[in-house]
Amino acid sequence: MKALSLYQDKGTFIHRVDSRSKLLYILAAILIPAVLHGFTVGLVLMALSLFLLVVAKVIRKVIPLVGFSFLILISVVVIQGLFYPGNRHVWFALGGLRFYQEGLVFSAGICVRVLNILCAVSILVLTTRPSDLIESLVRLGLSPHLGYVLSSVLQIIPQMTSTMETITDAQRSRGMETEGSLLVRIKAFLPLIGPVVMNSLVNTRERSLALEVRAFSSRAKKTFLNPPPGGMVNQVLPIVLLLAMVAAVVWRVLQ
């Protein structure tokens, strides 16, 4: 059963950088453009992220991630271009609709911001194993119990999805209608969702007992099977990123 993950194993340098640095990078990618206004900063950071994604050989996988937001961004451009409150100057007209400069500029700013964050997060998501990410978070101080919860969600979801497919097929073969009017579809919802839900909840008791047997509630300081990520880069990079953020804030304050 494949666990839920977007991780692409390409073995590049970026893959070896630890999660802490990547998380700081995302923070920097959000903070720095927010602090230093203007298009250019956002564009530069986005270009940097895209460059890193190319180095990590995962650039093609960014497309589906961006795809989720793509339609919304188009609608933002259209709606803001037409109706942005600060609209004064018409830039062009299309079939009777007037698109204004202020609105289009505003929506361009939104697009840059969204894409910038998406690219930065993609670096984390596409080049880090979820289990490594979670372990890093626990090392940084996240409760091991929550780390467990995060890890088990990744495995439980594919299981529930495949159970759902089995049940849907079974119910359909018993003559359940899943297409048709809204009422028909609403009526189909509970019998489909019921068995899967009950199954997952009933198991919680046995699961909890089994976890207790493995000393889950122990308050001893948790140890790790895997050694911590080491290396020069992982020591230096977080400091560089933190300094960059501080520098941006200082620059802004001095303006």
Partner: protein
């Protein structure tokens, strides 16, 4: 010793409930898509976990739901974790205070959840998307409102609200239906007031 509903010390059962609840969120979303219902139905698990185990678990479930969704599908979900947390907290508090006990109260809770979701999501929508929600119908309403020169925040609020009300009410109804159908042996695991008696 009774644990208050705000206790951060979670029992093993509560921790095991969270992945199941996140799974239920996913399933709800999948089925809604499969059946082409005009609702998201992606918070059934969060609401159910809040009913079973209180606001802290509900909030955690909401947060983890968005974090995992962000890591594995759509990174934008990360930001909306705040909304999921709000829903979990709101429903959890009402459940623990015994306010969820009849069909009317379920509708009320759904409405409250919709309001909470709207209040939290709107600033996020404005800051991030300029006020839109990504839902086709809602955004059309948004466009209409700002076309008539109303302030952005009103347009955004209404956009979010009309999308959330049917969705959250339906979500709470389904979650309550499941909750009522669970055996007592299971629901008792998550209560905060259990003690060992001496025989």
């Amino acid at each position: 010793m009774k644990n208050s509903m705000w206790s951060l010390k979670l029992s093993t059962s509560a921790l095991v409930l969270i992945p199941a609840a996140v799974g239920i969120n996913y399933i709800g979303k999948l089925f809604a898509g499969l059946l082409k219902l005009p609702l998201w139905l992606d918070a059934i698990g969060t609401v159910l976990s809040a009913m079973l185990a209180g606001p802290v678990v509900g909030a955690l479930c909401g947060a983890i739901n968005n974090i995992i969704y962000g890591l594995t599908m759509d990174p934008i979900s990360f930001i909306y974790a705040l909304t999921s947390i709000g829903i979990g907290l709101a429903v959890g508090v009402m459940a623990q205070k015994g306010r969820i006990n009849s069909f009317t109260s379920v509708i009320v809770v759904g409405l409250v959840a919709a309001c909470v979701a709207t209040v939290i999501s709107t600033p996020i929508n404005i800051g991030f998307w300029g006020g839109q929600t990504g839902n086709v119908w809602g955004d059309l309403v948004y466009a209409a409102i700002i076309a008539h020169h109303f302030p952005v925040w009103i347009a955004s609020l209404v956009d979010e609200f009309i999308v959330d009300v049917p969705d959250k009410i339906a979500t709470v109804i389904v979650a309550y239906g499941i909750f009522k159908g669970l055996p007592q042996k299971l629901t008792i695991l998550f209560r905060h007031d259990n003690q060992t008696e001496q025989l």
